[in-house]
């Protein structure tokens, strides 16, 4: 109501601001068109061609897409690997973030230190330095095995060398970087009215009940937004696969984005790379759409 009044008043005093409005957002419109829309359209065109950069692109219709789904066994493998990574890394990271956020709700003298310590890995986690470190930590003579030996477990597992464990080192790296999600949950938790917990306690609700009936429902909008963001970046994970494992062993850690990169820049199959990119856009777009549709089943928005 109040909002509407303000808007009406604004319209009366200012009227339309088409010219200054577009002037202010002009940088975005230009940048978005030149660096996103035009490349996306180019990519759509190239996805229907065979193109190696050196020779002009040759129109081959939907051949790239047919190849992908019928004769490229690696495509299926790569998609499966990436899917598995996302399906484990994203929920684990969110669960960890929520757990630690609840732990840090308590105000103590060390709160500042704790918050910084848990947040730091996600600040530097995306860097090449950490990827290189990770690679050395999980090698056969790496610090993980040595620490296990130091506490008496005789471990000589080549974590990065066998198919069953290699992907898990990458998942652990992703979960390790739960810091920024944790901060988001922390501020979400602080916004839940204390009165809700108080009246629930008076009505005899115990800890788990309060968590599942108050905390979790009140956090669902935050969880929803984080979930979508992390699904998108999870499906596009690249650095881990490229630097830590190079997709080895036997392509068990070859991520989709890395496979796209290989095709375009190492095998000079730009057209095929673009087709791969478009399939991922469609897939992630569809996933986001479906998630938005399921919103009303599980995301709780307070009505004002």
């Amino acid at each position: 109501m109040k909002e509407k009044k303000v808007r009406e008043r604004r319209h009366r005093t200012i009227g339309n601001q088409n010219v200054p409005g577009y002037l202010f957002i002009a940088p975005f419109i230009i940048g978005f068109s030149c660096f996103t829309i035009i490349p996306m359209l180019m990519s759509l065109y190239y996805s229907f061609t065979q193109y190696d950069i050196y020779n002009p692109p040759q129109w081959i219709g939907v051949q790239n897409y047919i190849t992908m789904f019928t004769s490229d066994a690696l495509f299926k493998k790569v998609f499966g690997v990436t899917f598995r990574y996302v399906i484990f890394a994203v929920p684990l990271r969110l669960a960890m973030a929520l757990m630690i956020a609840m732990l840090l709700l308590r105000n103590t003298k060390l709160s500042g230190f704790y918050r910084a310590a848990y947040y730091l890995p996600s600040v530097i986690g995306a860097s090449v330095a950490v990827a290189l470190l990770w690679r050395r930590m999980w090698s056969k003579d790496g610090v993980v095995n040595l620490l296990m030996q130091a506490v008496g477990i005789n471990s000589t597992v080549p974590w990065l060398g066998q198919e069953s464990t290699a992907i898990w080192t990458l998942i652990i790296l992703a979960v390790w970087q739960f810091g920024s999600s944790m901060l988001i949950f922390l501020s979400g938790l602080k916004q839940i009215p204390v009165a809700l917990y108080e009246s629930a306690t008076i009505d005899g609700a115990n800890g788990p009940q309060r968590f599942f009936k108050i905390t979790l429902p009140m956090l669902t909008p935050t969880i929803f937004f984080n979930l979508i963001n992390q699904l998108i970046s999870g499906f596009m994970a690249f650095t881990q696969s490229y630097i830590i494992t190079q997709g080895k062993p036997r392509n068990s850690t070859l991520f989709y984005a890395y496979y796209m990169y290989q095709n375009s820049f190492q095998f000079s199959k730009m057209g095929y790379g673009c087709a791969l990119a478009w399939i991922m856009v469609l897939f992630v777009g569809l996933l986001t759409f479906v998630l938005f549709r399921t919103q009303k089943l599980w995301v709780y928005y307070e009505t004002e």
Binding site: T13, F35, R115, I124, A129, R135
Partner: protein
């Protein structure tokens, strides 16, 4: 008396027996023990890297379970690492990183603030549409557009220069626009109106009223932008081709190349150095980072 009141207030039974106090103390100790140990586990990989960079390179893996080797602390890894690759010293890589990060950040902060003001304060046709475009741009991963962007910049002859890394940042960065829009919306509209009555144009309002008031969100934007650009290695991987132009993030990757001799001491030393700018920003500007993340609800 005061203590008793507090207990009642929190809805507990008044119980001032020593049993209750002991229980509270034990709970507190368990809490701190658990949280502290877990924090150390979280930080351990980084701590390990820093200490390893100070060991003789031959000892790093033999003594990996041990943090400090008494009497063997050395800085030779830093000296060796700093020599860099193929005659290019690491100081060049650091300089490149600073140039790229600084120029990108300046552009991203200015342009994002301008665009954010348009979205937050102007009434114009098609605003909703462009705002959705902005959200799409924010969500769209770079990996999706990197191939066609490469082709585009290749046609323009920009591959091998810093233009593909810096120029796109000068047209507004989705996350930073969003951050500033949120911040500007929190500023009372009365201020704009008062200025308008005094004869100030929308441009004047932006420069004289909004800009001074959104300094905190500009600082937050600058921090995020600088950290992202500093860590960004994908665009360097794709758009740069001469070692002399590489930023630190990409130069570090050369340590991992199969052809490079595996001097892990030097690798850890340079990795540690590469994290120092990020780490310093993190320690001094943590408040801004936390606020930025909390106010937008988006990853950092």
């Amino acid at each position: 008396m005061a203590r008793q009141k507090q207990f009642e207030y929190e809805g507990h039974y008044v119980d001032r027996t020593s049993k209750y106090r002991i229980k509270q103390t034990v709970l507190r100790v368990v809490y701190h023990l658990f949280t502290f140990v877990l924090a150390i586990v979280m930080l351990y990989p980084i701590i390990w890297m820093v200490f390893s960079s100070l060991k003789p390179t031959t000892e790093i893996f033999k003594t990996a379970a041990q943090l400090i080797l008494p009497g063997q602390t050395t800085f030779e890894n830093y000296v060796n690492g700093f020599r860099g690759f193929a005659g290019t010293s690491f100081s060049v890589f650091f300089k490149n990183s600073f140039i790229i990060s600084a120029l990108s950040t300046i552009g991203a902060v200015i342009s994002s603030a301008v665009v954010a003001y348009g979205f937050a304060r102007m009434n114009f046709k098609g605003k909703g549409f462009w705002f959705s475009c902005m959200l799409v741009a924010m969500m769209l991963p770079f990996q999706i557009i990197m191939i066609p962007q490469y082709l585009l910049f290749n046609t323009l002859g920009w591959v091998g220069t810093y233009l593909p890394l810096i120029l796109p940042q000068w047209f507004g960065q989705g996350f930073l626009i969003f951050l500033n829009v949120q911040f500007i919306r929190g500023i009372p509209y009365d201020l704009d109106e008062a200025a308008m009555i005094d004869g100030c144009s929308v441009y004047g309002i932006f420069l004289r009223i909004i800009i001074p008031l959104i300094v905190p969100s500009l600082v937050t934007s600058a921090i995020f932008s600088f950290m992202w650009r500093w860590d960004d290695f994908m665009s360097a991987l794709i758009f740069l081709n001469k070692p002399i132009t590489y930023p630190v993030a990409y130069a570090l990757k050369l340590f991992a190349d199969p052809s490079a001799s595996s001097d892990y001491g030097a690798m850890f030393a340079m990795s540690t150095l590469s994290l120092i700018p990020i780490f310093t920003i993190f320690l001094t500007m943590q408040r801004y980072l936390v606020e930025g993340i909390a106010s937008t609800g988006i990853k950092g």
